[in-house]
């Protein structure tokens, strides 16, 4: 969790000052972890959690209208964690970058208000986010909102908010360094050249992390493993084992299969499908099969003498085999009865 916690706060910041008291980062990370663990219990899927964000509330966030931190807090608490887990889509990173740039400017203008927030922010992410909430709405923000509404993605709004917060924070940090000691600084760990790059990188990383989580859920026993490398190892092993299983099963099919070529069996292709789907747990269907070929063959094959010839030697020896032969045979019958009939003659000869 730590890398994620580290990177999320490390949003794109143009500010040059990275020398923040390490204590704050630690506290912040703990807070992030706490926040991350809480919603884990609530939502299995982060995407649905984000969708639960009422659009109105998300819009309010964007409006940057002054709101009491309390009301924004719970919303932020639930929503701010989600981007860690969600699969973020950034179809137009360019627009996001532009918006982030706008908000960085905006942050500079709103510094006095932004300063007010850090005073009580402590380590809480909620209070950190209340910064933009207290700032006045901007034509920029409104235009951004309309764009967001068009896309209707609460996740992106949340991320932009974080971007804004981080950029604002960088500005405010520059202006009043020494004043606010318990100041949560949200910035990228590694120095980023520009906002746009780091934002895009962060978006990409979040996307990859989201997909990795998806894969973790698919692969059994991968949830406990932490760390990308081990998870990838597990995934690779799983894929390899599945491919090996397919190969092994095909080998078994090659050896096991005896007389699937009987024409009688073609009648029950449909039966086989339904049986395949319905777990075959009950052996009742196989018992019904022997009667089908008799009727089906007469319906579907004009050259009935083929069947008569095959019936006599076939039934005696292969009564048991017909049960499994029928599924495949019926499949073939649907497609090409003529071909099968000609082939059947060949089989008749080989058998006899």
């Amino acid at each position: 969790m730590d890398p994620i916690a580290g990177t999320v706060p490390g949003s794109a910041l143009p500010g040059p000052d990275h020398e923040e008291p390490g204590l704050d980062t630690l506290q912040f990370r703990e807070e992030i972890q706490r926040l991350m663990t809480v919603p884990q219990q609530e939502n299995a899927s982060s995407f649905t959690a984000l969708l639960e964000l009422p659009p109105t509330q998300a819009m309010e966030l964007l409006h940057l209208s002054p709101e009491p931190p309390v009301s924004v807090g719970p919303l932020l608490k639930s929503s701010c964690v989600n981007p860690f887990n969600s699969s973020l889509m950034f179809p137009r990173d360019v627009e996001l970058i532009q918006r982030a740039a706008k908000f960085s400017i905006f942050g500079g203008e709103q510094s006095p208000e932004a300063v007010a927030a850090p005073s009580n922010s402590g380590v809480n992410m909620e209070k950190v986010k209340s910064e933009p909430a207290e700032t006045d709405s901007n034509p920029n923000s409104s235009s951004m909102e309309t764009k967001n509404n068009q896309r209707s993605s609460a996740k992106r709004k949340e991320r932009e908010k974080k971007g804004k917060v981080s950029t604002k924070k960088s500005k405010t940090e520059v202006k009043e360094d020494a004043d606010k000691v318990p100041y949560v600084h949200v910035r990228a760990r590694r120095g980023q050249a520009t906002d746009s790059h780091s934002l895009a990188e962060r978006a990409r990383r979040e996307k990859i992390n989201a997909r990795m989580k998806l894969l973790q859920e698919l692969v059994p026993g991968c949830n406990k493993i932490s760390g990308t490398a081990l998870v990838l190892d597990e995934i690779i092993n799983h894929v390899q084992s599945l491919q090996r299983q397919v190969e092994f099963l095909s080998m078994r099919l090659a050896t096991v299969d005896p007389r699937i070529d009987s024409n009688l069996d073609q009648l029950l292709a449909t039966e086989s499908l339904s049986l395949m789907q319905s777990n075959f747990s009950n052996m009742a269907p196989p018992l019904m099969w022997p009667e089908f070929p008799i009727n089906g063959s007469r319906q579907q094959y004009q050259q009935q003498w083929h069947f008569d010839a095959l019936h006599q030697p076939g039934w005696g020896r292969e009564e048991d085999n017909h049960t499994f032969i029928t599924p495949e045979a019926s499949l073939m019958s649907c497609n090409s009865s003529a071909n099968s009939a000609s082939l059947h003659t060949g089989h008749v000869k080989t058998e006899l």
Binding site: R204, R205, K207, I208, R211, M212, L214, L215, L218, V219, T228, A229, L232, D233, I235, I236, H238, V239, L242, Q243, Q245, V246, E247, L249, S250, R252, L253, A254, T255, V256, D257, P258, D261, Q266, A269, T270, E271, S272, L273, S274, L275, M276, Q277, S278, F280, P286, F292, G296, E318, N321, T323, F324, P327, E328, A329, S330, L331, M332, N335, G346
Partner: protein, 178 residues
Amino acid sequence: MSMNSRSLLLSPNPNSLKSRFTSGLLRALLRINKQPHQQPRSAREIWKRQRLIKAAAYKSMASSVGNRRAWSRALLWKIRNQRRRGYAARRNTGSSSRQLSVKKRICDLQKGNNNSKNRVEVGGSGQVEKLRRLVPGGQVMETCSLLEETAHYMKCLATQVKVMTRIVEIYSINPIEN
């Protein structure tokens, strides 16, 4: 009787991936088994059949998925090209092989470009490359879409294994009479 069979067919989802794959695979199996074979099967013959069955399984799976997924597209393209190359080699036509070589060159270029572009942020010791090799068409994908394709590919592989196990079980119910 036929009406019964039809109703049985429709009761579970007949358009699901599983049913499409099953029908395709069974069809291919029938086709493979239609070829006349001598009863005491040599190991070589079994190995040939195994190859055919495996190819049929992957082809049927890719066809069931269709063009919706990058990996299925890549797999179908590969299968088609293998067949085409086989035909071209047999017929010794220059045009088809030229087309294939051009496409292959484009593919190699794409692979080169994409691999240089994709910064492997998932820095594990060459695991992403391993994954690329495993998933069909993984060489030309970006890391992000590679992960997505892997998820779907894994799901389809699991379906494949389930269906094939079922088929083998059905065969094993009846003892082989050779």
